[in-house]
């Protein structure tokens, strides 16, 4: 294990041990702060209860990501190809970020209902922005000398895009996707808090109301694990696709 890995492991062991010890020494009631050992057991033992909720939240997040990719990529390319479009649309993109998306959550539930649609929409608008912006920046960062080369080759835009701009933009695209994936979970859960019949956010609210605090923590643990898996998957995909040194 690397030095940094050892330090990280040491730190987490210290924190968890301190938590566990403090809760036991001062006999903190479980419904206020459960010890980590109990949270972990709950997460495992209650898996049959948690899993269906986790699946729903996971599906919302993944759908949100897919929707965001399907809309952000064409929009970013269009904005790159037609600077007029970029100039016209960037104020809207920035303005859309100025609105606190979480404040929209109750409205989204009214408009799209208690089902998955409002949560998918929530995740989508949150992920959409970082992907679009980073992709446009990536496309624009292309070296002008390479552009001249392609112009003189008589390359049509679509081929220049495929051979030059797109690969050039990929590292930034993935940076945006990483950011998007890590905030996507927040979007889905907030959507579920506001109004839902299933999902980890729903489970947290329900358990919270019944003072089943260990279950709240267990749901958070599952959520964190899902975020981590998504993050790792993006990393693996990035390594698979970007095989050259940049």
């Amino acid at each position: 294990m690397t030095r940094s890995g050892l330090i990280a492991l040491g730190l987490i062991t210290f924190l968890l041990a301190g938590w566990e010890g403090a809760v036991r020494i001062w006999a903190v009631p479980v419904f206020i702060l459960p010890p980590p050992s109990l949270i972990l057991t709950t997460a495992v033992v209650q898996a049959p209860l948690i899993l269906p909720h986790a699946a729903v939240t996971g599906a919302e997040i993944v759908l949100g990501i897919v929707l965001a990719l399907a809309t952000a990529i064409p929009l970013a390319i269009a904005m790159f190809a037609r600077p007029v479009l970029e100039k016209a649309l960037s104020p809207f993109l920035v303005a859309s970020q100025a609105i606190p998306v979480f404040a929209l959550a109750p409205l989204l539930v009214i408009w799209l209902g208690y089902g998955m649609a409002s949560k998918v929409f929530m995740a989508w608008i949150i992920i959409f922005f970082p992907i679009t912006v980073s992709l446009v920046q990536g496309l624009k960062s292309c070296d002008p000398e390479y552009r001249t080369l392609f112009t003189l080759m008589g390359s049509p835009f679509i081929k220049t895009l495929a051979f030059l701009y797109w690969p050039w933009a990929l590292p930034r695209f993935f940076a945006g996707l990483r950011v998007g994936v890590s905030v996507a979970t927040i979007g889905a859960v907030i959507g579920e808090w506001v109004g839902a019949q299933q999902g980890l956010g729903f489970l947290m609210i329900q358990s919270n109301a019944r003072l089943q605090t260990p279950l709240v923590f267990a749901a958070i643990l599952w959520l964190a694990a899902m975020g981590l898996v998504l993050w790792t998957l993006v990393g693996i995909l990035e390594k698979k696709i970007i095989t050259w040194n940049t």
Binding site: E145, L152, W244
Partner: protein
């Protein structure tokens, strides 16, 4: 083969160059030499059609053309190879972007790889080979443009002495072995002296040709050739005078 008559480009009513005349006979290595900021890049972009011309005529093999964008190949001091493609895919890029006969292009590229000592490196990525090999691959790509005219953009400036000499040999191959007509635009006097058959010295803003020098020293040339040093002094004197005007 190429005639440029009365070419002009203005920015905000001010000429970057105007009344520019150049005549390039086939197979010659011509250099347009001007001080930094003389409008070199503007001229380059105008010739290649990246920006429109304001006045003037470009005649290519007896035909008036709007620009040379689809008639010339381009080579730069940077190899401009795409890191995500193999050397072979980089060399095939001109054919691929135009959707030409790929099988034929592959055969030609393969031959050029052999000729330039790149045999066995077809599937290597640019970052897996030396700088010299990358430059040779860039030369193959330039030849794969399949065009008679080659525009060189400061190909040797900012290179160390060894790389410079190696690249000089490569660029000369364009003329000697592949019979290309070459127009190089540069601010680097040494670069011009090493490569040119003719040097057109220009002053800046507006870019005006102030002197034409014919060089018949055999190539490749050495930096310290007394004749060249003599000519260099003369050119520098003109460049300084041109600045003062």
């Amino acid at each position: 083969m190429l005639q440029i008559i009365d070419l002009a480009k203005y920015y905000n009513g001010q000429p970057v160059f105007s009344g520019l005349d150049l005549n390039l006979p086939a197979g010659r290595f011509q250099v347009l030499l001007g001080p930094s900021g003389c409008g070199k890049t503007t001229l380059f972009n105008t010739l290649t059609g990246v920006i429109p011309t304001d006045e003037g005529t470009i005649i290519w093999q007896g035909q008036t053309v709007p620009h040379l964008g689809s008639l010339c190949a381009y080579m730069h001091q940077k190899d401009l190879l795409l890191p995500w493609f193999s050397l072979m895919d980089n060399a095939l890029l001109p054919a691929r972007t135009r959707g030409r006969d790929m099988a034929g292009a592959r055969v030609r590229a393969k031959n050029l790889f052999s000729r330039l000592g790149l045999d066995g490196y077809e599937t290597h990525r640019p970052n897996q080979v030396s700088g010299g090999m990358r430059q040779r691959c860039a030369l193959v790509r330039t030849l794969m443009f399949d065009r008679d005219l080659i525009l060189l953009d400061e190909p040797l400036s900012a290179l160390d002495a060894i790389t410079r000499q190696r690249l000089q040999h490569l660029l000369l191959l364009l003329q000697t072995e592949f019979a290309k007509t070459i127009l190089m635009i540069t601010h680097d006097v040494d670069e011009a002296l090493l490569l040119a058959d003719d040097i057109f010295v220009s002053s800046s803003l507006p870019m005006t040709l102030i002197r034409r020098i014919h060089l018949n020293q055999p190539k490749p040339r050495a930096f310290d050739d007394p004749d060249l040093l003599h000519i260099k002094a003369d050119i520098l004197a003109h460049l300084v005078k041109g600045e003062a005007v």
